[in-house]
């Protein structure tokens, strides 16, 4: 389908460029091929159309058999004024021919031209590449596609009827049509089971291929991640903490791959909380359970809140000696809250020296600076819970 890459190949193939096309780029392409001015070619087409309507047929045939030249960037704007001008010239020529009687005005070939255009539309429809181009837009594209198909079929039928009328055969066409219908019907009856079988086989084959591709992708993923982790676990079997960390990390990764929609890790609060928790879990080897309710965009204040939450997770994972840390984030219309809780050994809040930055600076101070509040509830042997609250900005 693609033209030879080298433009200076011995016989460059005729292609239809997008730049400077008026109808389908046939004239433009031909002109470039023959190194002529496109205006000359266009005039020739118009003239041929006026005489016996040949131009349209030739144009349609070339359209059908020349591939489109690949085009990058947005499609250039068509010069409609030129198209109108050529159309007007053609019409004038035809009117002249018809009035003077020197030419039949190509009336005889008009039905054929109509059939040609109809067929062209149908062919285009069947071409997967152009179909994709048409349907890529929206759902509307599908309906448009169908309309296009119907329009094409209609043109073919009208053209055929026109041809018969032209030849004065329409009256006698009745019995002939009946005969044709019977023959075609018979052929359909004979061929239908075979065609249906072929169709089914094709579908089956396609489905099988898709399944195989999916399998290959799953296999590749499992190989890269899961098998790799299992090997690591075997080699680290003596280190219980490391084994647990590896297993958790792999579980999380696999879950993400299986269930999580692809999303930007930092676009929303819930995603960011998950990412931060995952990082700290990996760093400290303590499982962090996350529950998120609601979600919202991440802004500067919420990012600060997230940093405070991260510090709370780090403290819990490093110092509490708890086997698991629970994180709960809730987004409500008027405020965002994050709780970080562990059932570890806790500590005496008043006994924390003034210079310890962990809690005072990174959690309490940071939240206050950004207009939020932080509360720490703890006591020796009671575990620790850090509660962060940030009022939503009402703009």
């Amino acid at each position: 389908m693609a033209p030879p890459p080298a433009a200076e190949a011995a016989f460059p193939r005729l292609t239809r460029p997008r730049e400077g096309q008026l109808v389908a780029g046939v004239a433009q392409g031909t002109a470039q091929q023959l190194k002529l001015d496109p205006v000359v070619i266009r005039l020739a087409f118009v003239l041929l159309t006026a005489v016996q309507g040949l131009g349209v047929v030739v144009y349609a045939a070339l359209w059908l058999f020349t591939p489109r030249r690949p085009h990058e960037g947005p499609p250039p704007v068509r010069d409609w004024s030129q198209a109108v001008a050529f159309g007007a010239i053609g019409l004038a020529l035809m009117a002249f021919g018809w009035l003077t009687g020197t030419a039949s005005g190509g009336i005889g070939t008009w039905p054929i031209a109509v059939i040609g255009i109809g067929a062209l539309i149908l062919w285009q429809q069947a071409d997967p590449a152009s179909r994709k181009r048409w349907t890529s837009g929206a759902v509307k594209g599908v309906r448009q596609n169908r309309i296009r198909g119907l329009f094409g079929a209609g043109l073919v039928v009208v053209g055929a009827l026109g041809f018969l009328a032209q030849e004065g055969e329409l009256a006698q066409a009745g019995p002939g049509l009946l005969f044709t219908a019977v023959v075609v019907g018979g052929l359909v009856v004979i061929a239908a089971p075979w065609l249906a079988g072929l169709w089914k086989e094709l579908q089956l084959e396609r489905r099988e291929r898709i399944r195989q591709e999916e399998r290959a992708e799953v296999a590749a993923h499992v190989h890269d991640s899961v098998l790799h982790t299992l090997t690591l676990i075997q080699r680290n079997a003596h280190d219980q903490r490391e084994v647990q960390r590896l297993a958790r990390a792999q579980e999380r990764e696999l879950r993400n791959w299986l269930y999580q929609p692809k999303q930007d890790a930092d676009a929303t609060l819930a995603a960011a909380v998950r990412r931060v928790a995952a990082e700290e879990e990996d760093a400290h080897g303590v499982p962090i359970e996350i529950v998120c309710v609601g979600d919202c965009e991440l802004d500067a204040r919420l990012s600060a809140m997230l940093q405070a939450a991260r510090q709370a997770m780090v403290n819990a994972a490093k110092y509490s000696e708890a086997s698991v840390v629970s994180v709960y984030a809730e987004v409500e219309p008027e405020e965002v809250t994050i709780f970080v809780r562990d059932r570890g050994k806790g500590f005496d809040l008043d006994g924390v020296p003034e210079d310890r930055m962990g809690i005072r600076g990174s959690i309490l101070g940071r939240m206050e600076r950004h207009g939020g509040t932080a509360r720490v509830r703890t006591g020796p042997g009671e575990g620790t819970e850090v509660m962060l609250t940030m009022k939503m900005e009402t703009s």
Partner: protein
Amino acid sequence: MSTRVLIVDDHRLFRSGVRAELGDSIEVVGEAEDVESAIKKIAELQPDVVLLDVHMPGGGGQEVLRRVLGSGSQVRFLALSVSDAAEDVIGVIRGGARGYVTKTISGNELTDAIRRVADGDAVFSPRLAGFVLDAFASSEAPSIDPELDSLTQREREVLRLIARGYAYKEIAKELFISVKTVETHVSSVLRKLQLSNRHELSRWATARRLV
């Protein structure tokens, strides 16, 4: 009296692991590995609680729930799963399970959960509590039955604490209520979850395929 439990799971290793972890107060009366054998064993053994795996060949836990509860059985189910997908969680709860816990749960907690379900109470994992809060928070559509379609302030508080990782006992202490009251609130939420007609719930679960 010990609680009689049937373990339904298609992984043999997991079944024996659970069996080993459960405390003395639990008596494992049998195991089943797929939908058909589960239905047969439930009818045969009449256990107090069925530990039900959500994902199994032949329709999974939801199929077992549909067929057993559909036949009028009063057996209680506790769903147990590795999957935290909202679709699965909401699916089995609406199918009639009285609780949902993930397989990472510790032996002691699982023993507690089984006892609770055997007593007719409900068991929510933190994540399930989160899902319920989320599902009932998005209440743009007009509710058909206000009693069933929304949570009370107290129920919300209880669920929030469960989501924060609090055990029932801790919740009771925090809210100055008895454990029994906490259990009542959770059971009431379970009932709403199972009976609420809000079509949003299923749609919400399907749309939100999160871990």
